[in-house]
Amino acid sequence: MKIGVYVCHCGGNISEVVDIKKVTSFAEQQADVAVVRDNAHMCSDVGRNLVLEDIKKHNLDRIVVAACSPQFHGKTFMDIVEKAGLSPYVFEMANIREQCSWPHFNEPDLATRKAKDLVNVAIAKVKLDESLERKTMPIGKRVLVVGAGIAGIQAALDLGDAGFEVHLVEKEPTIGGKMAKLSRTFPTEDCAACILSPKMADVPSNPNITLYTNSTIEKVSGFLGNFEVTINRKPTYVNDNCVACGICEEKCPVKVPNEFEQGLTTRRAIYVPFEFAVPYRYLIDEAKCIYLENGKCGNCKKVCPHDAVDFEQKPEKIEVKVDTIIVATGYDIFDAKEKKVYGFGTNKNVITSLAMERMIVHEAEGRTTRDIGRRIAFIQCVGSRDEQIGNEYCSRICCMYATKLSQLLKRADPKKDVYVFYTDLRAFGKGFEEYYKRAQKTGVKFVRGRVAEVNEDSKTGKVMIKVEDTLARQIIESEFDLVVLSVGMIPGAGTKQAAEVLRMTRSPGGFLQEAHPKFKPVDTLSDGVFICGCAQGPKDIPDTVAQASAAAARAIRLMNRGVYAVEPITAVVDEDLCSGCATCVSVCPYEAVKTEIVNDKRVAKVNEILCQGCGSCSAACPSGASQQHWFMNNQLRAMVGAALGEEEE
């Protein structure tokens, strides 16, 4: 046996804390170690070639790299070992960066001692590594996309255009998400509906996309290449016969606030969500329909000329099989009622920015839904950067949408006084700073200061704002006709539900956690599950679209070759030791172990395709017959011994 040990400096990240010389000379003293080297960057071309050439020149048959986390560069070095003609599994990594130099930088001596132990643990394990081979499994071209806002739409269209079979699931009765509600988009001021509606229309016309609206994912089981999804479709009580003629709506006696219009207008119990909804078809609001409540109306059914109203519709469960999953479940806006000091919900002249978006659309269309007034104030960071309400993060869009809305108001009527009260003005994106300058030139007044008080004058209905201008260092008390709360983003209800169903990790703010913040921004720790858009964290439309295309590309990368590599770290049973007790069968979460009769004896058999390699059965086996490749019992024990400084026997 000839082991090569390679110690990385990581450009100082490791070597500034850990004494590399002590680690290399320790490694040199270990039995079977033939070559020990150190390098500034083992992951660089130079470092990789060092390993590659040594394997050939010195006939090394085991490799240990002491560097960063195996989750960061494990695959990099496994690929090198494989390229040199060895099994990628005769390789171990000692994590002396994330788990040594970084968390112990104040204690270099103890960190060096720990680094030696960690190298020793890796050597102890690598000696017992088997020459496992990566296997390939067939994979299809089917994708589930959850959420059909702009992120889900973009991902679905990219995949559909590339010839992949897409199942697009949206919980609302129409696709389009939050973007459909916006007036214009910063910093170019494209009309949101004008750039979004063609993409929405492309979805049903794409032959590779199956759309499920009014639907949620109820259950997902399986794994990459083999996901089984249960979709729950709620009834709309209107069937495919509907041509959206609108006769039913005229006869519906129920009036409720229109949620798409932020309650600025009303709609009927039978309605189309908005004028460019996809699918463009009526549905019945089951919580508001009189017939569904007590059977006493049914006007819509009586007048429908196409027999499209069907009160007998029931929720439907649809099973689909997919190979990969993209989660694009988006955000909800922060509930401004939670920030009581601003009086939203009690003061009628305090509204959300989303309501202002709709009011600007209505103004532009010549159908004013409420008076905007002459003096308008925007309050920034409502529900963002606010530890009192528990949201530490910046929502990233509010500075720019307030800049947009304020200058749209000012340009439409230069006589208006428009103020933006901000914490910091963050104009970080391409063209944003220029856009902000333009708003200033338009005459919008940007005042740095967090608003302390918002009070309604009970006689005039006007809103009194008290704020400290922290640049001019003076207290401002001023009266406004309308106060707009620039509400931030919170993880959407759909995001929370998807996280539960798919067992995804969430970041401290509650958004979905990516596999690596820089190099795997749309991957998750579950193979074949990707995230994009505001489900991952607050972001604007360009970033959302970019991430959605990235998620589609990452999914295509896995599926396009028709096969994918699987790790051979499955369970394995020693049939001589196996007593056929079937304890392993009962603990397997994948039904991957079964017993059968071999040579007149009942023994456990592992289905290597179903086995996902958790090792639970190996831990449960009372006779030591069940083991897990790459985590064999003797390996784990040898690692424990090495970690505790036990001498090798």
Partner: protein, 145 residues
Amino acid sequence: MKSNTEPKIVAFCCNWCSYAGADAAGTSRLQMKPHFRVIRAMCSSRIDPELILDALKKGAWGVLVAGCHPGDCHYVTGNYRTHRRIALLKNLLQELGIAPQRVRLEWISANEGGKFQKVVNEFIDEMAALGPLELAGQPTAKEAS
């Protein structure tokens, strides 16, 4: 970790949540006492109670087992198995006259670097207070073979 004057802790971490959580602690430069050694398994349910006993026998002052939060296990139900096994093991330790707190089970997710730091520092302090594990009857040569 050769001398027995300072605590020796073995921390078994699952690949998906707690090992990533340990990495997250390091990436955030959260400082921890260095007296622990992490051993990675794919799932906390791979950690056989016998392996924990093996660590105690070989001189660990304490053993930490860390897995994904309930409901978040990468392997669906693995961490529930771990939960039950550790509970049984603690009963056994009590019977054997070994302080059950020498084995600690924690749920630490991939982003909980802060929790990893807190748990490790706390556990090391607790084990330092408890001192090394004195096993009454070290095995004779015959028993060990």
